[in-house]
Symmetry: C2
Subunit: 168 residues, 2 copies
């Protein structure tokens, strides 16, 4: 998309732009998740990041499927939001000296990424339906459901173990 | 926090760091929300942004209250995540030619900011409780409840009106 041009003229353009944005975001997460898994000390958290990495690879494939279904070019546009979320995760993690506190910070960072995706996929599903693309909406909904499930798992892990250990 | 230093040694340090991060984020939103209200064309959305601006001012005051209750210096640290979310909102809005499509994009941008805050306040409430600061948790919970309510309002507005109009 060009700077100072008005390239988004219709709801369809916004939908495709958002697909390109989240496509970029998922690809950045594929790079970030192994690093987070490496930093994590809790075994369940480490495993959770690796499981989510596998899911994220499927999310990328699903996005490519939706691009094709919608006859749109498979393309990523830079997403400053996910770049900021990942940068903040790196910076904060780099400042944490204690291992269990680091796990608490890593979970929080992962949840920020999950919620970003939940918002974007939520809009994509709604917009696909309004554009008469229930087929695309159904594919995107699968990913949205998985992002919600991951967020719930992270929440449970934080509450049941990580935060308690970090505060002890 | 210094680069390449490990300034976060305890859960308490992480809690204070997160307070400083969200304090910065709320202050950036105070600057961003009037611009979003100005760009919005739907009257309910415009008013919604202005109402949330007033709430955000209260959130800043509550954070200052928590800093004081916790004997921590009132200080903001740069939060690359909210900077990225706001930058993306600006960029996308700048590319939208159609007014009703712009409203759909603005709602989506606002929800990204809301969800970022929901994650951070969610962790702050949990961490405050684990640090034995139920008093701080109670203050932060008020803001968390308001962020959830704002997100729900935005969702309802998007589904009931804005998206339909943008796709028509």
């Amino acid at each position: 998309m060009g700077l100072f041009t008005k390239d988004i003229k219709t709801m369809n353009d916004l939908f495709v732009h958002q697909l390109q944005d989240i496509y970029y975001a998922e690809k950045q997460l594929i790079k970030a998740l192994p690093k987070m898994a490496e930093k994590a000390t809790d075994a369940t958290l480490k495993k959770g990041f690796m499981t989510h990495l596998e899911e994220t690879r499927v999310h990328v494939e699903r996005l490519e499927q939706v691009f094709k279904m919608h006859n749109a070019e498979i393309k990523a546009v830079t997403c400053p939001a996910i770049d900021g979320i990942i940068k903040e995760a790196d910076e904060t993690a780099g400042e944490v000296a204690d291992k269990s506190v680091l796990d608490a910070a890593l979970i929080n960072a992962a949840q920020a990424a999950e919620h970003y995706e939940i918002v974007r996929y939520g809009s994509l599903v709604a917009w696909a339906k309004q554009l008469g693309r229930a087929d695309c909406a159904a594919v995107l909904q699968k990913t949205l459901d998985e992002e919600h499930a991951t967020d719930a798992k992270l929440n449970k892990l934080a509450e049941s173990k990580i935060n308690l250990r970090a505060a002890s």
